[in-house]
Symmetry: C2
Subunit: 471 residues, 2 copies
Amino acid sequence: MQIDIRPARSVPSTEALDAVRHGLGALLGNRLVTSLAVRQQHANTLTWIDNQAPDMVVFPETTEEVSAVVRLCAAHNVPVVPFGTGTSFEGHVNAPFGGVSVDTSMMKRIIAVHAEDLDCVIEPGVTRKMLNEHLRDVGLFFPIDPGADASLGGMTATRASGTNAVRYGTMKDNVLALKVVLPNGEVMTTSRRARKSSAGYDLTRLFVGSEGTLGLITEITLKLQGIPEAISAGICPFPSVKAACDATILTIQTGLPVARIELLDALQVKACNIYSKLSLPETPMLFVEFHGTDAGAKEQAERFGEIAAELGGGPFEWATKAEERSRLWQARHDVYWASMALRPGSRGVSTDVCVPISRLSDCIEATQADVAASGLIAPIVGHVGDGNFHVLPLVDMDNPDEIKAAKGFVERLVERALAMEGTCTGEHGVGQGKMKYLEREHGPEALNLMRSLKLAIDPQNIMNPGKIVSL
Amino acid sequence: MQIDIRPARSVPSTEALDAVRHGLGALLGNRLVTSLAVRQQHANTLTWIDNQAPDMVVFPETTEEVSAVVRLCAAHNVPVVPFGTGTSFEGHVNAPFGGVSVDTSMMKRIIAVHAEDLDCVIEPGVTRKMLNEHLRDVGLFFPIDPGADASLGGMTATRASGTNAVRYGTMKDNVLALKVVLPNGEVMTTSRRARKSSAGYDLTRLFVGSEGTLGLITEITLKLQGIPEAISAGICPFPSVKAACDATILTIQTGLPVARIELLDALQVKACNIYSKLSLPETPMLFVEFHGTDAGAKEQAERFGEIAAELGGGPFEWATKAEERSRLWQARHDVYWASMALRPGSRGVSTDVCVPISRLSDCIEATQADVAASGLIAPIVGHVGDGNFHVLPLVDMDNPDEIKAAKGFVERLVERALAMEGTCTGEHGVGQGKMKYLEREHGPEALNLMRSLKLAIDPQNIMNPGKIVSL
């Protein structure tokens, strides 16, 4: 694929910014904010990636306003950086070329819930917890759970997944259609509310995971699920990471429709014991959850117990009561905070990779050895049903040597995953942090194709420039 | 989205064709075929769309050969039309601008089966039955079943689905990665074998359903499933289409993981009775199938029976024995032939639409009324769990009035589906037949975006020109 035009993105001129600021002020009044604190808040600060603040932040309320903002920015060649809740790790919301951060937090209407069709139409600022709160009364839920109470716009843009993905898929599988403001300000819908379609190119999937680089999502049609009649959950210790991974493989091969199957390594269990006041054995541990009918969930649990025992795991402890289950899963959800508490004052630099599940235990064990050899403290949590795991090096950000060691570690982690037919990120996305790995992962042809797509849709390169691909 | 360059595709010059024919002969020997019979065989003849034969047909054996074919065609601006088994309905394999039909039937290696990862890597000419035959010994299967024993390359290219999609999804959900020969002959891989990834634009989904217009698929990595321990199946008559659809909605809302739920309208049941020597009541009927553990499949079946009774359906008859189940599902699979037998000598012009399931019974009932008013004979079969149904007008192709009536009927069917937030095709694809509906379905912005994508990837418009979008 030959790319003829590669517009070198630069910082907008003072005149361009003045014109946009003036126009946005007229359009949005006090929903245009230029204070340094708010601008910095809208740039990424969760890892070692520098905070690169936008020139201004706007809070539109409607698709029409977003379209007007983008038209104005396009007219003056000023970057547009979409912002959800700012919980991403890879610098997605940073503004390396300045421009306008478009905060979608005032777009949080739940436009429609179609219970018979198991879908809903929402605005991008709705968070997953808000949505589930709203749905509870109709007996439905939205399953994707990346941990943070992220906005569904951000989750769509980054192709998020999380603990439930092994059963319910990722955002790619749960978005039916999108309304998108294109880089020229036009408003487009990607698909219809029908459950499936073969009517042309899959524009929905093109925008899911495009991280705001192709357009700004202003409406999302999501698939929903019925709240299961019964949920059974439990935890099971294993003698090794390999035994836990083998039990996971066998569980999935057997066709047990496990809803969640999460690995905590020994260090992570230790952190949880301290933080969540548990007394779990400090050995690799699987947290599992099954959804179904009363009899079905029970049967699945029993089967899993047998599989675990076969692989040398156990005893498998059931949390049949809702409170007990909540307490365990709360501990699982709090791993980030629990890990941070292992080393107060440090910063947890979260990263993730994903490999075919047959390679998972090799990959995790080699990673643990690397953690030890690098002198890092870095607990591991895995969505092991998908072959996806997170490592959280706890880094003293005042110590350049330690930052260097952690960066080298992440580099080797990605290399390791790629060598095992894996990906440099299973669910965190590319942002700024993982751009350098894309060519190694996909090859030059695919990367060039991605560039062509970006260029075809955003020839000015105003939509979240400096993310995913550079032009 | 402004499109600046719209290359008007034209038929290649005699010189260009001669050069390509010469080059292909040198490359492939007798795997280049130019006889009229073979060329016509490689063009669509299943509906009223004219047979538009390619200028030549090639039978490559490797990705490298496909790449060489495409490079040669690109050098001479000659169209390339991918061909699987030729079972599509909408003229996908027609060659309106002539060129080279690339028949993938000699690319049928099963390259790898990774049982632990529940995936396999295959060539595009492998058909779904071949693959399942191969997988049986390892206890795995590939679930997507569009009816015909189609090639998996063709199924990928048209985003096929079928009876199992309600539980296992469509091709979009079951392709992990593709190797693709791009319109300039470069070979690209779209993704890795990892179960999920958020590493950049979703190139896999861009090519799934692109109908050969963006490149030619030469390798496919597919997700597999464990063969369920138990399969239970049965049939249930309903007093009306609405009652059957309502039972379907309730089944899905309840979270019953039904593997297949198929509606046959009264006329279709009549056709099956005659063709498959059954004695079913000639009223709307649901064919259902459940996969799970012994206890699980049984429980699901009982629940379904209760739901059906609640909606006035029944009696629900179970086919617990494998032979009995096969006989029923064989009848379901033979609906196309059974329908044709209703009117010997006619041609069944199969078409499909898909709507949100809450609108399905309205859509089917209005369609039945339209069938009657149009004086057509047209049985209906629906993958009702997805809101997708097929209508098969049986047309006397020697009667221009009847063809006109049937064309008008299809036009109104699509309009009806679009008015109900549906799509002009749930699984057949666009090809030539449904191009005219895309703008109405997606709007001008989305259609222009599709055109930009096509143009960015295939600036010469050599890949299957005249399908999906016109340039």
